[in-house]
């Protein structure tokens, strides 16, 4: 099978949260903890989690208005008041090429599907929670009342029936595009080139590069600012890349323990 994935083009996201809602509906995700006003622009969801598999981030910035970005405010009345520019981005599990959650799962509950996506088998997960700190994006999480770990399945059940994931289906602006990853990468490169031509110099791709620390993401993004502004790690690395070295260091330390104990018995009469 060809690898399927998401290209999320944040330059056309209008922050409608249809993806969040569609995801909740289709996947029967339970309520998040009691809703709260977070004071983070229009974002009261906060972050991805066990019951939030799409999360729309809102960043309000003083606007250089001529960018043609969604903007609001009195900028034409002769005052020097800056307008407002929003950065909006729908975040999701990255379905990494080298997925740390999958690597560290001791039960085999996390597996790679025929679409090259990463999914938790809920009937196998025993809630050990190791995948949670392993994820370099802070995506997968344990549901406290349930005990098991949950994250985006890239709508594994829909893909099998030839449907698109719920979020991509619901997105009204094609900010969320689903398709064959190779084709999405070409489309994304073309889109960045167009934006650069139009003077949007800050447009850049994130997670598209197979040479990055996670081998490239199955779900990648076009961003209009630094990744950390959106709550994304700037240079994530799959932790298991360093695992062979860690085992070697631990083995040496274990030999040190043997040596210390053995010497302690040789080293004195009592």
């Amino acid at each position: 099978m060809t690898r399927m994935g998401f290209f999320t083009d944040t330059s056309v996201c209008i922050g409608c949260k249809a993806c969040e809602v569609a995801c909740k509906e289709w996947n029967l995700l339970p309520d998040d903890p009691p809703p709260d006003l977070l004071g983070m622009s229009y974002d009261n969801t906060g972050a991805l989690g066990a019951s939030t598999w799409r999360h729309v981030a809102f960043i309000e910035k003083p606007a250089p208005v001529e960018l043609g970005m969604p903007a609001m405010g009195d900028t034409g009345g002769g005052t020097d008041e800056p307008g407002v520019q929003w950065l909006m981005s729908s975040d999701v599990c990255k379905h990494c090429t080298h997925a740390a959650c999958l690597d560290v799962c001791p039960t085999g509950a996390l597996f790679r599907t025929e679409f090259d996506t990463v999914v938790v088998q809920q009937d196998v997960c025993n809630g050990c929670g190791y995948c949670v700190p392993a994820c370099p994006y802070g995506v997968i999480e344990k549901r406290e009342d349930d005990g098991r770990a949950f994250k985006c399945t890239l709508c594994y059940d829909r893909l099998g029936s030839g449907l698109q994931p719920a979020c991509a289906t619901a997105c009204p602006t094609d900010s969320i595009q689903y398709g064959e990853l190779d084709e999405l990468r070409e489309r994304a490169a073309a889109r960045v080139a167009t934006l650069h031509d139009e003077g949007v110099a800050q447009a850049r791709l994130y997670g598209h590069d197979p040479a990055d620390g996670v081998g490239g993401d199955g779900a990648f993004f076009l961003l209009l600012d630094e990744p950390e502004v959106y709550g994304l790690p700037p240079d994530p690395v799959v932790t298991t890349r360093d695992l062979p070295g860690m085992w070697r260091t631990a083995a040496k330390a274990a030999v040190g323990v043997v040596a210390a104990v053995a010497l302690a018995f040789v080293g004195g009469r009592r």
């Binding site: 977070l38 004071g39 983070m40 906060g46 972050a47 989690g49 690597d103 560290v104 799962c105 001791p106 039960t107 085999g108 025993n126 809630g127 050990c128 929670g129 190791y130 700190p133 392993a134 994820c135 370099p136 994006y137 802070g138 997968i140 999480e141 344990k142 349930d146 005990g147 098991r148 770990a149 950390e228 502004v229 959106y230 709550g231 790690p233 700037p234 240079d235 994530p236 298991t240 360093d242 695992l243 070295g245 860690m246 085992w247 260091t249 631990a250 083995a251 330390a253 274990a254 030999v255 040190g256 323990v257 210390a260 104990v261 010497l263 302690a264 018995f265 080293g267 004195g268 009592r270």
Partner: protein
Amino acid sequence: MVERAEFQSYYGRPILKEPAWRQPDVPLYLFLGGTAGACATLGALAEPTGRPALARSTRLVAAGAAGASVLALVHDLGRPSRFLNMLRVFKPTSPLSVGSWILAPFSGLTAVTAALEVTGRLPRIRKLTGAAAGVLGPAMCTYTAVLLSDTATPAWHEARHDLPVLFAGSALASGAGAALLATPPAQAGPARRIGLAGAAAELVAERRLEQRLGVVSETYRTGRPGRLLRAARVLTAAGAGLSLAGRRNRLVSAAAGTAYLAAGLCTRFGVYGAGVASARDPRYVVIPQKACQQARPPV
């Protein structure tokens, strides 16, 4: 005083999820597993070198601590009834899978050895199971360092070169502590010596964590983890000093053992807490990753 580095974030919110493990379960597990490992190896050598009291006390401690550590791990699962799923597969890419395959035989062997030690039956089987547990003991001491380091948690992953030494040292000192507490000084010589070796390794490795991990080292120096690790240092030094002073005095020797054990607890809870603190604050993700990016030549 270095100025705090500037960085951008999404409303200061964490990028990573905090470790999903519970406290005290997992830090306690690290402590118990290390103590059990060191004691099992001590016990395996104590019997053939004619120290029956040391063999007995360390084997009982190894079995008790290993059993308790299994309980702590199972209790920490979101679905404890599925704990056997841990042995469904063997995955070298998962330190928890490897650890389960070390812990399962280790806890079984220490339990059988202790039972035979108490009943005095089947001495040849006892020697065999005791020796096998002793071989697995060092792995129990250090695999938990890989368990923590093999995460995206900055304080643990960045510490991957030092944590195994720290955990080996802490396990030796804690194992020595248990042995000093439960063994007459006349037979506790080896325990005193591994205590000193462990204390030295621990102090050196802890120093490196606090100094050499760049901005992430802050998490080992400040807040509750910083206080715990400072307490650990004082207690470790006290344990080492008292163990030398208590060569003929059971009470002083027991005080040394208590100090070592308390130091072990402080170290494990301190390291665990530093990991949680480093996941909570995006600065420990953004600043090191930006530095990595800038260090690479542009493509």
